[in-house]
Symmetry: C2
DNA sequence: GCATGTGAAGCAGTTCACAGCG
DNA sequence: CGCTGTGAACTGCTTCACATGC
């Protein structure tokens, strides 16, 4: 058992971990035994030195002159990501996006299990999606507690997002993935990540309008601070 | 017509522009006439100095002692984002996510018009979604050219993404929003932004597993880089 | 008086380059 | 000899603090 305390990991590094994990998974499936930082970097589209620095934050997993053992490295990264234990997730807002996420194979493969679907529309409640019955949002807090769900996904319209956020916090959720185009207010103990499709397109549009501003390759933008 | 050459805008600033745009839009709807950098910062969940610095990259739009004129500032930001002209978008991969995006109201409101939907499934082709008939991916390049679509969205399974990417490039697309969990290879002239839901959840899981690593407030989304 | 705009300071992540080790 | 791991240099964003101007 390696050391216990993770040193402060740079946020950009944390964001890249899932990428490494994904690529290593593929390599493992292809029965590749070892990778050098250069190869892994190539496959991830990042700089080799960055890969080594990132991995070094967790310890020395590589072998000099050889590279990294794919299976071992994969295991270490998954452990860092806390994928060893399955995590329960609830989704609020069963519109098209909510449906899409509920049925997403990627979530399950990544170690997440969806344990609750919620909405407020009378005609949506009761519907069965991905084997789960959609319930009214008022039941969200209790379900979070009974299912021990610590992660919530918000796919409601903007107007309903803050209310849902409050209910999630009430249910003990400590991490929220927010797709609603709204700035949420949540307790400091609740981690919020925002995803905004329109904003992504707008960024692309910006660089189209300002080709000179494009920095060759955008790359890992890091977190904008709050 | 203001000046022509945009100075090099920091990538983090570009990522925040859509956020400012959104918040300013709300303020405009509420008929708020002016905002100070502090108020705008509060509403966006960012630092006030950052707001001023960001805006200063585009010129001096504020009035000392008063703040910024909401309508004027909004107009300037939209102009910077190139929202003044509508942009045509094509979507490849009409699974649940593709459907969700095709019907997304947010895209239209943000100045994007969806002009083509594509898939390879025989039973999906021909279906009409959001007023558009789904066509076979082989038609993608020609439609991009005829509709002058410069932005493509990939919502296919991972295995089909690179092929679609190639076809988009062939069709003259210069910006791609990629939802497939794959590292795409595209010409340097094509800007790619990746969005990976599972990766977002994994990042949240990481911070749950390492509460000590949480940097106060991560904030606004960032893209895992290429 | 009050809020912007900005030089300067501070800080963080990236990249370099090489010592160290298999 | 090759590749990792890492100190050090570098680059760039963030934050500060205040002069400027309404």
């Amino acid at each position: 058992m390696p050391e216990r305390f993770a040193r402060r990991i740079p946020a950009p590094t944390v964001v890249r971990l899932p990428l490494y994990q994904r690529v290593l998974n593929e390599l493992a499936r292809e029965a590749v035994a070892t990778v050098s930082s250069a190869e892994l970097a190539e496959a991830c589209g990042v700089n080799a030195a960055k890969v080594r620095k990132d991995l070094s934050h967790f310890g020395s997993y590589g072998t000099r002159g050889t590279g990294y053992d794919v299976d071992y490295l994969l295991g270490q990264i998954q452990r860092e990501l806390g994928i060893d234990r399955e995590r329960a997730v609830v989704i609020a807002g069963m519109g098209h996006l909510g449906h899409a996420l509920a049925r997403s194979a990627g979530f399950v493969q990544s170690g997440f299990r969806i344990v609750g679907l919620f909405d407020v529309q009378p005609d949506t409640i009761g519907e069965v999606v991905a084997g789960l019955r959609v319930r009214h949002v008022s039941e969200l807090p209790s379900v979070c507690r009974s299912e021990d769900a610590a992660i919530g996904v918000i796919t409601t319209p903007g107007g309903a997002a803050q209310d849902v956020c409050d209910r999630m916090a009430e249910g003990g959720v400590s991490a929220i993935l927010n797709f609603a185009p709204v700035v949420l207010t949540a307790p400091a103990s609740v981690q919020v990540r925002d995803v905004d499709f329109s904003a992504e397109l707008q960024v692309l549009a910006f660089y189209q309008a300002h080709p000179d501003a494009a920095t060759g390759r955008p790359e890992a933008p890091a977190r904008a601070g709050r």
